[in-house]
Amino acid sequence: MSVTETQTIQKSGAAGSAKFAGSDSRKYNYFEPKGRKASHYEDMTVDVQPDPERYLLQDWIINFADGTPTYDKTWTALKSSNWHQFRAIDQEWERTHYQRQSTIVGMISNVIENGRRSGAPGRFDRAWVKVLTDHLGAYKHAEFGLGTATMQAQRYGYTQMINNAILTNSSYKLRFSQDLTLYLGELALDIEGFDQEAGKQHWLEDPVWQGTRQAIETVMGTSDFLEQYFVTNIVFEPLVGELFRSGFIMQMAAAQNDFMTPAVVSAAEGDYERNLANAVELFHLLVLDETHGEHNRKLLISWMNKHGALALLAAHQLQPIWSQPRVKAAQFTDVLDLAKNRARAIAAEIGFDVRATLDQ
């Protein structure tokens, strides 16, 4: 036998076919799970983006020209004693993300197909059709703006958990902006004179929408990625997004003979519950941080002051829309109160005070 033929042939490569040191080590063992056992989400996510403070022996090996490394803690003004602590509440990894997104797509497609087949769009109230073209058509751009802002933000986070939570947020927002676009396009196939261009025109020119556009462009123009994530979920969504989606479209539509639009729009409410849970968890951790909590709390209040004022201005400018449907099923003042209460409740859960912004 030659020297190269001395290897033993192992009969099986299957787990348990031999016992030796390490043969029972069948869990990722390099991070501290949040619970007693690591979740599948944690196994898929934690430490994939490395960190010189954990295992990155050689440090980041490419810098930007000014010396900033590949990932840098200064990309947000918020501070953390442990950026790795955060886990997304919705526990999304690719499989669950596609399953959920695909289920939503299926739900929306069924509603639209069956509604169209039954001739539902033809029975929409005429005044309501104009609301859909002008205002739902305008609002789709707000969703797109948040989608692109979070798409930008997902590059900057210091850990994989933060960046992936922002990434899925972006994916949901971009899908919903397209959902609305295609839904309106399909209504146009069934409703004569349905103006698909009106929405963008109102978004760009109608005074009713200028406060919203300014608020969205401010999010898009913000260079602090966690400020973008905060404003999206903690400020704009409760004060303007939900106000319009739930407080207007979903409450008004049925009374205008429209059962389709609330179902399409409801998907965004479900998306938001998950994005909100993730965002609240992150900002709550930062406010509780033993070293930086107070700094973070003050910063969140300042962000709330700045962007909350824009959001409230946007909300008030939207008020005339509530008068446009023929059947008035909801009052703006009532839904605005609800929106403010929602924002207060979210802020309380995170651990900061919004009285300065909301109780003017």
Binding site: M44, Y55, F64, W203
Partner: protein, 556 residues
Amino acid sequence: MPDSLTLNKITAQRGMSINEATRRVADLGWTPSYVQEAMTFPTDYKIKKTPRDPMKQVLRSYFPMQEEKDNRVYGALDAALRGDMFRNVEPRWVEWMKLFLAIIPFPEISAARSMAMVGRLAPGEELRTGFAMQMVDEFRHSTIQMNLKKWYMENYIDPAGFDITEAAFGKCYASTIGRQFAEGFVTGDAITSANIYLTVVAETAFTNTLFVAMPSEAARNGDYALPTVFLSVQSDESRHIGNGHSLLMSLINDPDNHLLLERDLKYAFWQNHAIVDAAIGTFVEYGTTNRDRNKESYAELWHRWIYEDYYRTYMLPLEKYGIKIHHDDVAAAWDRIVKNHYVHYTAQFFSVGWPVNFWRIEAQTDRDFEWFEHKYPGWYTKFGEYWKWYAKLSHKGETNILFNTDTGYVYPHRCWSCMVPCLIREDFCYDEVDGKTYTYCSETCRWTHKVAFAAEYEGRPTPAMGRFSGRREWESCYDGWDLADAITDLGFVRNDGKTLVPQPHLHFDDSKMWTLDDVRGHTLGSPLMNFRKLSVEEKEKAAAEYRKGFVINALN
């Protein structure tokens, strides 16, 4: 039922055309007037022409399509277990997956992050949808690969190495090259990194060897899981190639961009070659037990995928736009693979360094020798004796091959640019950058560090270009350390606290497995730190000596 009646005909209704849908979706964007969009990562390129989305897909069709792909992947993984795949899998192959799957999820998610960089740079909104889908694709790839790795860990005979995977990725001397790959996608000039390096070169050219050629070899070794996952991953790449090409076309029409394009195509092609061919070439050629003479060697695969498919049909046509293609680099890369034994030297290096790996490498045998000699004439003379030494020194009690001076092997310098060692000794070079000496595997890698990654290029200011940083020579991290202490620090010790994760064999038997005590008493050193201590004349002499190479001593 009449022949003409189908469910589709009953349920079909008039819908929007694909063109109309993509046009409407592209119209979601607008030019902000209250606040300008935040500055993103900088670029020295000018992008005047609005890129087009060649795929014309919307998220409504994308998500169900991806879910269906996932269902097939996860169904196949279940089927593999029911069919007892691991009973017949080749451990030689799966061991290399500990390295490969430690490396790849970070480059994948880096590609997702890089979509933020190009998404905002490209004018118009049409391609932003393509970038958004790529972002979610890359999220898919990163986590689906983490899942596959977990699946191997749970079902393969030896989980050690999979269990420490991301920690090992950050520390290992071999995964360094994967980090160079990943950081290259997201750091520095946004177009250089996220468009040219990532999509135009890595995804368009080298994913074919990564995600198509390598899975074929997996299947030959009884591993049906890797092809299932990676061919599904590769099916997303056509979208990414489309994104990259579309943005490239919007750049190439402006002659002001040509100088930078030529720089970046040169850098990106050479570094992709240096990194991907080192790693994937080794997995395909040395991780397999299949020695079918009729199958293509890595060199033949390279010729098909990189030379014929990429160079001839993708790179060459770019010349008609007036940019210079570096034909000589393509020829040089080919020569390195077929004439200069690049892949074989890499495998030799990986195996010499086995004590600081986190996977097992077994010796090549007579059967392997015959195949290598058939595919790479002259291989046996160059490498046969080495692998005999490796087999001999794989037994516990021998002096490990890294420190065994009987073999004649000379530990290589590390290339500061591609981070693969300087394995083709005659091409070794060194230079000074900002007053410090660095070593390189080739002239092009020297050029990459000194000329391309700099504040100006051929007289043109390039303020957006990145810089090499960090402790790029892995060996300097453990200079002066005892080997056993370094392994402990790396965390490459099994859960009994003494047996090494890496082993130079496939014996799943404690009595044959090396422990810390078996490797203690040898001191690691940094070739670069030692080289820097030399005078100018001594450096030149040492370099000349290095370029002569080494001869493996005959095993008596």
